[in-house]
């Protein structure tokens, strides 16, 4: 067993389990995660922890080293590749997701820090076949070209409207500026956000 720093306190509910990883082709030392208190994670260097997230309304467990970002957990472990990696440094916004309802850059947070969180990604916005109003507005206003930034733009837009920062074009321009669009269809993004915001208000 690994050292038990984080497990010193009593646990009501064990959310982590011991995990040994052997990946194909590579000789890996067995690694162990440490059970910790509810909502807490601890793992030593090289160890993995099982983190439980609620992703798009589904409970998902993902086994990761502490150094794995939320973005790479979503893309590389959970197969949710709709969230894009543009810069991996918080400078482009392509990886924007909602965590507990707030927009964050998933490249700038570790999966282990999000134990128990509600994550919404682009895959979770539509209700079955019915698109989210922001998704519809993006199509209606041609608010994307290559699509590389689009998932992040849309997640950011959903939050922008929810925060009440879509009151005017000027306000949208500022509050959507954390998401770069290199195709630069910014005017159409503003129009889509304004349109969706109008729908949300009425």
């Amino acid at each position: 067993m690994a050292e038990s720093t984080g497990a010193a306190r009593p646990t009501r509910r064990t959310v982590l389990k011991t995990a040994a990883v052997t990946a194909g082709g590579a000789a890996l030392a067995p690694r162990t995660a440490v059970a910790a208190g509810a909502g807490e994670v601890a793992a030593g260097p090289g160890e993995t922890a099982v983190v439980t997230l609620s992703v798009n309304g589904k409970r998902r467990a993902v086994e990761v080293e502490p150094r794995v970002t939320l973005l790479d957990a979503l893309r590389e472990r959970l197969g949710l590749t709709g969230t894009k990696k543009g810069c991996d440094r918080g400078e482009c916004g392509a990886c924007t997701v909602l965590v507990d309802g707030e927009r964050v850059k998933s490249c700038l947070t570790l999966a282990v820090m999000r134990q128990g969180s509600e994550i919404t990604t682009i895959e979770g916005l539509a209700q079955g076949e019915r698109l989210h109003p922001v998704q519809e507005a993006f199509i209606r206003h041609d608010a994307f070209q290559c699509g590389g930034c689009t998932s992040g733009q849309i997640m950011s837009a959903v939050a922008c409207i929810d925060e009440g920062h879509a009151g005017s074009d000027q306000e949208i321009r500022e509050w959507m500026s954390g998401n770069l669009c290199r195709c630069a269809c910014y005017q159409n993004i503003v129009a889509a956000v304004a349109d969706a915001a109008k729908g949300a208000r009425s």
């Binding site: 720093t5 984080g6 910790a36 208190g37 909502g39 807490e40 994670v41 601890a42 793992a43 030593g44 260097p45 090289g46 160890e47 922890a49 080293e65 502490p66 150094r67 970002t69 991996d88 440094r89 918080g90 916004g93 924007t96 707030e102 927009r103 964050v104 850059k105 490249c107 700038l108 947070t109 570790l110 282990v112 820090m113 134990q115 950011s156 939050a159 922008c160 925060e163 920062h165 321009r173 500022e174 509050w175 500026s177 954390g178 998401n179």
Partner: protein
């Protein structure tokens, strides 16, 4: 990123106990730390996640404002007390980063963010701040983003925090907790100029955690503003910035605090410029003299000479707006 150990804590005592071990770093928002780790600029052995501590509050008291070290930038910027009584804080926060990062980043972490100097962030370049004694390529290299005040032969990197500039203008006090107990550090004494030890950026000791920032209630604070100039409309670090807090008697300056970003190696307070203004009317002439006092000791490099001029213009703009 190096493999590291990770512990999430709920108890401040445990946080400082774990954080006191060499090679340990606290992580709150993570918005700067993770970039530094990805770039190999810092390689901690262990992270202590302090987000479980009950430090994400903002309260207004008779003597002023208390902001928990884990309050998020967005929460502080949108707080009614902050906007009414300390507007420069809200303005500086809203001029920072992006909406997403403001949702994530903590006040304590914001004050501790590292310079954006491209040489510091490039582990393939020498840098005295990253590898003491390796040299400073910025001094003879690309220096547009660098400081004209407070530099040394070892380092001319600027401190990037807008919030810190506003805090300096408000005479804030940083509360820290470490294994040796709690300390109150006036923000004017918190940051260190590079001198010969640019890797030592502040007075924090290993394992000390910023638990809160106290901002005194003053007449100046209510009349405070932030102006940030940059090379694109938004989502960029300051080329130059100014935080001003002024208390006026008619047009006469009873008291004033001036702090600057983008021009100094630390969030830059200018007692010299304040002294010029104190007791004087805010005329174009006194403002210009204050600007000259600010840059009297400026030492521009190849690419940043314009900042000496630009920061005086920014100061004039802000003070004229406060008349």
């Amino acid at each position: 990123m190096k493999s590291f150990g990770y512990t999430a804590v709920r108890d401040p005592g445990e946080a400082v106990r774990l954080g006191g071990r060499p090679g340990t770093a606290f992580i709150a928002g993570g918005t700067d730390l993770l970039n530094l780790m990805k770039d190999g600029v810092t390689r901690p052995d262990r992270l202590v996640d302090v987000n479980g501590l009950e430090l994400a509050w903002v309260t207004e008291t008779a003597s002023g404002l208390r902001i928990g070290g884990l309050a998020r930038m967005r929460a502080v910027a949108g707080h009614g007390s902050v906007r009414r009584g300390w507007p420069v804080l809200a303005e500086a926060l809203l001029a920072s980063a992006s909406p997403q990062v403001r949702n994530m980043a903590s006040i304590g972490g914001n004050l501790l963010q590292r310079t954006r100097c491209g040489y510091f962030r490039d582990s393939g370049s020498p840098c005295n701040k990253r590898v003491p004694g390796s040299g400073c390529p910025a001094i003879d290299g690309w220096s547009r983003g660098h400081a004209v005040l407070g530099g040394s032969d070892a380092c001319i990197a600027t401190h990037p925090s807008d919030l810190a500039v506003a805090m300096v203008a408000l005479d804030a006090v940083v509360l820290v907790r470490g294994s040796g107990g709690e300390r109150r550090i006036p923000i004017g004494e918190f940051y260190l100029r590079p001198g010969t030890t640019p890797h030592v950026e502040n007075v924090l000791r290993q394992g000390e955690l910023i638990t809160a920032v106290e901002v005194p209630r003053t007449g100046m604070a209510r009349r405070s503003r932030y102006l940030k100039l940059r090379d694109r409309a938004t989502f960029e670090f300051a080329v130059v910035s100014v935080a001003a807090a002024v208390e006026l008697n008619e047009r006469r300056v009873r008291d004033v605090r001036l702090a600057f970003g983008g021009i100094g190696t630390t969030p830059w307070r200018s007692p010299e410029a304040e002294e010029v203004l104190r007791g004087k009317d805010l005329t174009a002439d006194t403002i210009a003299r204050a600007g000259r006092a600010l840059v009297r000791d400026a030492k521009p490099r190849h690419d940043n000479e314009f900042k000496v001029d630009l920061v005086q213009r920014a100061l004039a703009e802000l003070l004229e707006g406060l008349r």
